[in-house]
Symmetry: D2
Subunit: 429 residues, 4 copies
């Protein structure tokens, strides 16, 4: 019986998987296949994926070229796991990253392959900043998200995650993100004031770590001017400037780095999520050469050499970043997406959030946002919330999504907003 068939696997999860599981609660279906911007459940029902692994699948599910490269590599007995030994796949990735990403930007950063999670890349960045400066305090921002291992978690703002530590989190001073205290207050000035005052009680920082767009924190997007000022404050006070580009990087906001074109020169950049191109675990910490003072193996990790990910990552760089076409395409889609969301927001007296293809609508409350997402899912759209109160409906679709599928997804969103919030336009007329 089909009922039996669908119930059994759920029972497995109920029986064997920890209750820490989360997304499966919003999307209680059993999925098996995925291609591009579409995920399929076991009954063959297709869902458009506006979540995309929280920006891990910027190039979509199972891109045919990445897939082919990976299958070929495996078929040829390419090394899957080699700790951090020299492998052909790693060399190819490094050379490609240097050629297509670093050199065109005049960047001379060294790549540290950390454990293949964003949190690990952040941990490495924080440790290194402390080593380099001999200071321990790190400035992180309200609503920032940097991971949940104990070092990174201290920099993360989210209260639920912080509470999971069940012990005090130390080593981080919180500063207010761009716009946090309203349009009239330049929060960078507040930070500079404190760091310039030897009796402020804010210790001289080892680093300032910032996301250019806060993915988990509510799609707050910092202005280039504010980021420039934060970078200047870091330099002025002898701190390293770290950009956590884990969620906003890899094209999500347009360029390969979310800070492309802003004239910034971060001392350290953390990357993960879409870096492997295909959703495979991979993370790097980019370090300016003068700060690369690690002793061999001082920060290590078994899976710091995920060679499958090197293969797909190099293929992704080659496919999407060897010229400007992909970036241009993303810009066009972002433009369309932005206009559509602005219209929906306008209809309901709401505001949009974010930048590039990392945008959403502040629905006004977590309850509303949850209701909207639930309706979307019932109509075949996977979409999630973000923000302090989960009040932002967030679009993180694959950047490679077709315009038709993007349009159809947004249409579902529009319907869901109307279903939950009523037709304001109609009401007004």
């Amino acid at each position: 019986m089909t009922i039996q068939a669908t119930i059994t696997p759920f029972n497995t999860f109920e029986r064997v998987e920890s209750r820490v599981r989360s997304y499966s609660r919003s999307f209680p279906k059993l999925f098996d296949k995925a291609k591009g911007a579409t995920i399929y459940d076991m009954q063959g029902k297709a869902y458009t994926d506006f979540l995309a692994g929280c920006s891990t699948l910027n190039y979509g599910h199972n891109d045919k070229d990445l897939k082919a490269a990976l299958i070929e590599y495996i078929s040829n007995d390419g090394i899957a796991h080699g700790l951090d030994m020299f492998t052909d796949a790693k060399e190819h990735f490094l050379a490609t990253f240097e050629r297509l990403i670093l050199r065109p930007r005049g960047m001379k950063h060294q790549l540290q392959f950390t454990g293949p999670t964003g949190a690990n890349a952040v941990e490495a960045a924080m440790k290194l900043a402390r080593k380099v400066t001999g200071r321990t305090n790190i400035i992180a921002f309200t609503n920032g998200f940097h991971g949940v291992t104990l070092g990174a978690l201290a920099a993360t703002g989210n209260g639920k995650h912080r509470g999971g530590a069940a012990t005090p989190l130390t080593g981080v001073t919180r500063a207010a993100y761009d716009g946090y205290h309203g349009a009239d207050i330049n929060t960078a000035d507040l930070l500079d004031r404190q760091l310039s005052d030897p009796s402020s009680g804010v210790d001289a920082p080892a680093a300032i770590i910032v996301e250019t767009v806060q993915g988990e924190g509510g799609l707050n997007a910092a202005s280039p001017g504010w980021l420039k000022q934060i970078e200047a404050i870091a330099k002025k006070h002898g701190a390293l400037f770290i950009i956590d580009d884990i969620q906003a990087g890899c094209g999500r906001t347009g360029g390969f780095f979310s800070f492309d074109g802003m004239g910034l020169s971060p001392d350290i950049v953390t990357m993960a999520k879409s870096l492997s191109g295909m959703g495979l675990p991979l993370a790097v910490t980019l370090i300016k050469p003068e700060h690369d003072i690690w002793k061999p193996a001082e920060h290590n990790g078994t899976f710091r050499g995920n060679n499958h990910a090197f293969v797909t990552a190099a293929a992704a760089l080659e496919k999407f970043w060897s010229d400007d076409r992909f970036a241009g395409d993303v810009a066009d889609k972002a433009n369309y997406l932005g206009q559509r969301l602005a219209a929906i927001a306008d209809d309901h007296g709401l505001t949009t959030k974010g930048r590039g293809m990392m945008v959403g609508i502040d629905a006004g409350s977590g309850e509303r946002a949850a209701a909207i997402c639930k309706i979307c899912f019932s109509k075949g759209l996977i979409i999630e919330t973000s923000g302090s109160f989960d009040e932002v409906v967030k679009v993180l679709c694959p950047l490679t999504i077709s315009l038709d599928q993007l349009t159809a997804g947004i249409d579902i969103m529009e319907t869901a907003f109307e279903a939950v919030l009523g037709s304001h336009r109609a009401a007004a007329e």
Copy 2:
């Protein structure tokens, strides 16, 4: 020219990779393929792998069945990355793990998929123990290794790694491992004495975390009796008993768990390394149901659902753990390996370390051990050191290695020991 060919890629690493890299310094070759217990460099030279990803490749490189399962999965557009949504691959892994591993042992643990690194599994375990007990102190042991993210690093003993934090590590009290103070002192008694004394200054612990064999710490193997006593001490003092089975598990010491057959019932078990079977990043924290009090997503991580790894992990369980043959085979090899190492050690007045297929010889100093490993590598054997002073030559070959290749590898070791230490037997005669 071949010279050019070999030099160029090294230049890439020199130019672009952080100096934190380590194993590539011991084995300065460029590798591209691997099969079973053999790795090949770009010139096609074959090396026997007695390192095996530090016990990540217990089933060897590119096992044909795991490889086939993975290629089929990818070819069919199986989901690569799905955050922690329900997927067919995950369900299949969970059900297989339950059927082949948990049920036969009467274990009812829940599986938490943490970020796919051992450190992350340990972080989750430590956080959860603190949540469950409302205490913050965790007992870890001398020479223990549990990862380098800030929470796990506090539990790690290695001074170089600890120094990498560049900030004080907190929340862990150090206890002496089995045998640490010599054969006459039962270190479990020392710990119990301190925990039983309300004025000892050792705060009531949330957990005691222990490796049954300390892989990085010098292949120190705890006796079953000592482990039983540590478990009893944990229970007596209201602490959770955590076994970190990341390196010693998955058959390395014989059974699937390194503690199989010891009558232990750990509250939490951490696993990673060989869990995926093929070297892909995967980690789980096994939690007794009564301790699984996580809120949804309280501990999360982008790559906690590495579906490729679920596929190979399930295939590995099916292939190696559906009956006793593999374990029996490992036991035979371990027996042979142990005898050979004992003979070598005996020749030079040295001692062996470890248990099962996680064994080595204390060469007496780090310099000697390094010299031995260097000779081995020149003769086509990849082998590394372990211990406080890197003084232990450590054998972590694939468990699936053929007896011929195992023998050949040990023969190289024997030669290298003689080359460095002289032929004691000869001298004595």
Copy 3:
């Protein structure tokens, strides 16, 4: 010879006292006697004391009635030291404090006799707030000073003192004091914003600790409205409201408590400095009954029962606080002092700081302020600086000073300001 006579004792200090000594560097004379607002050096030269033990000698040196009470007590073999046993002197102090201070204000606080230092009273307050709430984070303010023991030091803003810890200070989040970011920004709103946001990264606080006037931090005086708002924020977010009244209390700003008449109801008040009336070590932590959840001796200290100090403290309460005359007298002097300082400040385009008899002039730089104080000392006036850059010339004379001596002291200040800054009034004419 007089030269020999003056040099010898200095040699003793040079030889035997730690270089941590500080005030003796500003006032390099050997003093032996003191009466009222006057200190005498060994040559019999008189100095007017505008430092008064940093507000520890609000009733002047060796007040005749306090002195008489103490001599009588000692002569009669009154208990000097009794740990925290019940003594007649303690009972008398408690009953007097209750009758003259607590009851008239409708306060029901319990008195905890901590170790007899302000820092210890603050440590007790912080520990208790954490016990009561089960939270660890404590909000303290920019430029706050609360002592230099490790717990209190975390709440102290001064960088030099913080650096003395030589280890990271934890458990405190820094907020901006009233006016810290200029007149246009209500810093209480900034704090409330962060505490109201579950993802701000500022953990729910156990307490907010504040000085109504920051004595060491530059004589910054908070407005009653801001303090009321801070108290409301504490209550709103489940935190205890702690006023550190160690320097500003005991009449320094007019009332016995610096917050008298503001309608505040702090959960905990810390007191020390002038509490004993005669400069003897004494500190108390006042605790609302519902928060007094200490176990017996949970916070202890050998000198928590300084009975000599109980005797003089009770006598001081009786003499100065049994009616309104003293407070009225202080108000008159504060009025005169304020006008004189305003005139001096106005002459030089400077601003005054502080409130009541805890006032000063921001000289614009630490160099200027030091030069002014040095001239004052050469003219027989002991006066010190305060502030992030030691830029504030601070008046903390005994509250009992005669109008004549006060006038003469201010006259010296006026001369010193002119000597250092020139005669602006003259220049303008």
Copy 4:
């Protein structure tokens, strides 16, 4: 009415004093006068004081010469409070301390006047050791007591006090005191083993802090040989050697320092309790000149110049330490006291603890010890307990006690032991 008279003051304490009070629970009488080894309650009843302010009153209550010196000083308007300015009283104390204590021992230590509590002296010592070495870890011992402010509390072993922090205590690693693991285990060897192992997980220490006799921890007395070894271990591993002589110093164990005659040369010594001679708050941290790297005021505190205490402290040094008579007298009494306690212990199959005039009997349980002390109090003897379970009946009488009063006190103890434990000798016959 007498009933009214005795009840009223108790009501005051009940109403107004925090429940943290402790000794008043064991000795619920209201005391007013004290002389030598005798305290009197308000009804004039005399009690022999075998507690002596926990060793703060080594020279007895209100010694006539100290009292006379203090009264004269106050009568002449001697400075009571002068922050850390140069005063005649301080100079006299420093010169006397140098002449009578430091020079005869060849010590060149500098005196830092910290806040006048033992805890503050310990905080200063810990901070300075961290500054000097650039390390943060401090080794402290099981059952050690060093104070309850947050820094010192981390070094204190007692669980109740530690729990009062309500936040994790950091920066201290616990080692086992001499004899802690029984006579067969040299705990200094255990510590050396851990510090010599770079992977032990015990970070290189800034200091080792130790009491020669653990006053609060159960009168555990370290052997000179063990202390020498601990000092050697500190030096070997680059750590400062700190002796906390707050309770055991000032003649309590015979010499002025508890380590006199042991050939030790501690880098830092902390002193408080009996230092002032008369029970007035005073504390110093003695620092070898090469470690006295404080910046001016880096560690400060309002009451660091308690001039009344300087007066009595200098007088006490002059009276008791200008020749060997006092030390000889203490040795004689200690001999007598030791024999009597040994006899009592022997009668009941118990063991004695401690050294010099800091001795007691392990009654076997806290209940027994409490019962014994209660009986003693009912017979006019004030005596308290010590140890992890408050199981040690502890004699800390004034060192100046007459042999008659000492004998009478011990007789009461003997009776109380028999009352609680029965007459074993009788039973055996």
